[in-house]
Structure formats: C-alpha cells, structure tokens
Symmetry: C2
Subunit: 250 residues, 2 copies
C-alpha cells in the first residue's frame, strides 16, 4: 500500500471543475508522463491534441451532449496516429497502405489509451480530477473536419481535467471474482442471483449527477443501456474506413 | 512532482523477472486497482484472465514468439467482455445483437486498456516491473480456443509482471512538440530533419535485448517496421467478427 495505489483505489470521475485553469507547467508534466509510458513495439502510434479554441470546445460539447465538456477544465483529445509514421516512411521513399491495417489501428488505439490513463493517474496524484469523454465518438466525421484529422488518424477518447469542484462518492465496482478469472473464461451464470449483493450496493450509491437520487440496480442499468437501447454510433466502422483504416477488408 | 509521477516519468519495460512469484495479496491488490478505474458509461465491459496453467502459458509463448512470456512472472490477459452484460440482459428476458456493435467493441477495448495501464502504474509503485504482450494477437483464434472465449469476448493485450531482474535504460521518447498539438492536427513536415536530434538520441540508447548493440535511428526503425514490413495480423478483422463483433457491418 502506498500513495499511488491509495489514489487509484479511491478513483472518482470528476465532472465539475473549479475556475482555476491548469498551469502550463502542469500540462507539460502531464504530457511528459504520457510520452514516457510504454507504446506498442516502440512505435509511438498516438498523438494528443489540446482543445483550447472555445468554438471547437463548443462544437465538441454539442457532439457529446455533455455540458461539462465546455467547462473550465483543460480538454485533451487522444488519437490513433499512424500518419506520423507514414510520413516518416514516405520521407525515406516508401509509401504503402500498411499504416491502414487493422493491426496498426489496434496498436495505435492501445497506445492512445495507455497515454490517457497515465495522465489520469498522474493528474490524480497532483489533486487534479478528470472525466473521460467517449461521447466525442458520437460524430467522428465532424471531429475529423473540426480538427483537420488526416488519413491514418482516428479519435479515441477525450479527457477533461481540472481542480475538483465536487466530491462524489466512490462507485461500487463489480466484485473481484466476477471481473477476474483463471485460465478459462467463465460465463456469468445466474446473473441476477450472483450480482444481488452488488446490485444492492449500486442501489445505495447516490449519483451526484442525478441530484441525490438513488441509482438503479446495476443489472437494471445494463438492461436499459445495452439490452433496450440500440448503440448509436453505428457509423463508426464507416468513419474508421474513411480515415484509411481496415484496408485489408477492402 | 511526487512519487507517482517520478515513477511514471522513469517507466521502463521489464522483460526479465526474478524467481520470486507475486504473492496472492499483491495480485488481488492489482486487480482491485484495475476494478476501481473508470469504465465507459459505468458498464465495466472488460475482464482479466490470469494465465497460470503452464501448458497455456507455453502455447501463448509460441503464439507470441517471445520467450519471456513463459518466464516466472505472473501473466494477465485483458479482454473486451460484452458477454457478461449480454448474460445480464438475457437473464432479464432481453436478447439482442447490440453487444456486438463496433461501439461496444471500442468501449470494451478502452475499458480493458484502462485496467491494464492502471495495473502497470500500481505495480511499478510496488517495485514490480511489467511488459505488455501485444504479440498474443498473432493468433486470436487459437487464444479463443485455449481460453474458451465465448461470443462477445475478444483478447486485447497480455501483461507479464514480476520483480525486475534487469535495469534497462529509459528509452528516449518523441519530443513533446511532436506528440502534442493544439486544436488542429499538424502533419509532420520534413520528418528526417525534424527528428534528427531525436534520431541521434535513440541511436545512443543501448537496448538490453540486443546485447548492448546500438539501436537504429527511430526513423530507420519505423521504415523497417512499418514501411518495409507488411502487418502480419491480417486475420484480426475476421477474428473480431467471428467473436460476434462489428455486426452492423454484416
């Protein structure tokens, strides 16, 4: 047990920030933490874009449908970046479509998420809160246009950071023996019984976003979110291909 | 600056472990750190599988072609897991193919990577080293069979952990102004000039794996790995679809 782990065990997503912008040195330190993380095959297939232009921030807010995107925190966007390495090859006289293979998309996606989570942990150690914004993927084509993303670049996730202006409860997570298995995948049997205690814990949790209303059972939330709601980002495969990826499928 | 960030800035991948297995309590703590990370839309769409069976470990070593997979460290596999939530819906009388949409694959992939990197950072704070093993994706279909992965589950990355038996140099990373941009994507112009200093730094770095040989310039490595080498995991899209994902494409 140490300070790093204590902070990780007590992680809470922060959706409201104080009116205190992050300093330039803080941002540079966070980017350096990201840069120094591991990357797939030492190819560094990701980039980080800071969104500081209020008009772009507002456009992302509209895409994500989450007011707090435009709030006073700092906004990072993490992208799969195969364009940089493609340029490096091109400058040496070699141009292929290899940068667009699914393998490269997946490696870049992994690199981007490692960089993002590294920043989340580092920020937390500095007293800075964060919220991931997957909602930016609601309209990838518009993001591509707004940020001028070229071929072989694809948005992975947004991350807003700032000094916490709220102190949410810690959300109860699925039990260890449900998340973790040994050697063989264990299909969850009898979910409603197995997760009964967990459901009750989630039901006790007061979600700040819902003005202190009790939250639904976890199993009920999943039914509503996954069983009864069709995924909305059905154009994502088309957008991925439009950016030049998954070429071996063509 | 604090201990968490110091460790993150000094991250090195460890590929050789002492003959000192991780204790049960250490592993449980690491899994708890993973569990307490953020997940997409609070849906916890990932699972962690510990590979302890020597026969499976050996099979993964053969797939990855990296001897150190079978070494004495602990081996985690992180997977996209939409099967669990699918079972939760099914138990409540709702069965759809929504779990197989690309959106769910991407959310699960993000969750899995957040869990993995959370463990990397926590382990490092405990003096435990780690190495990501993307190489397990060389043969996804075999992994599926070995670990009995059902529909809506897909392997993301392996992670081997253990007490370091080596002290590699810190690898020089791409400069901040290359990885980080503001508002608009900046295509890397004149790569060989822009990265000249960085190339020289990489060239100074002695890679322990190559018995103290100098490493190539970064731009040369990228040319060899990306420009002149066709990606080998060309069956990954088919494997993703075989696991029930990307259904809106069908």
């Amino acid at each position: 047990m140490n300070e790093t782990i204590k902070k990780q065990l007590n992680h809470r997503t922060i959706r409201s920030f104080k009116d205190q912008p992050l300093k330039k040195e803080e941002l540079e330190l966070l980017i350096d933490v990201a840069r120094n993380g591991p990357t797939s095959n030492f190819q560094q297939q990701y980039s980080i874009i800071s969104i500081t232009d209020p008009a772009i921030k507002q456009a992302l807010t509209n895409i994500g449908g989450q007011d707090y995107i435009a709030n006073n925190g700092h906004l990072f966007l993490f992208v799969v970046d195969q364009n940089r390495n493609h340029q490096i090859c091109k400058a040496q006289g070699v141009e292929t479509n290899y940068s667009g293979y699914t393998e490269k998309f997946i490696q870049g996606f992994s690199d981007a998420m490692i960089a993002a989570q590294n920043i989340v942990v580092a920020a937390s150690s500095m007293g800075i809160g964060s919220v991931y914004l997957g909602s930016i993927l609601n309209d990838v084509d518009q993001i591509v246009e707004l940020l001028n993303l070229p071929q072989y670049v694809y948005p992975v996730v947004g991350l807003a950071l700032g000094y916490p202006n709220q102190e949410p409860q810690i959300k109860p997570k699925l039990p260890r023996n449900v998340i973790h298995m040994e050697n063989t995948y264990q299909v969850l049997s009898d979910p409603l019984t197995t997760l009964k205690d967990y459901d009750n814990k989630v039901n006790q949790y007061y979600d700040l976003r819902n003005s202190n209303q009790r939250t639904d059972f976890f199993t009920k939330q999943i039914l509503d979110k996954i069983g009864n709601t069709k995924p909305k980002r059905i154009t994502n495969i088309a957008s991925i291909k439009k950016q030049g990826f998954m070429v071996e499928d063509k």
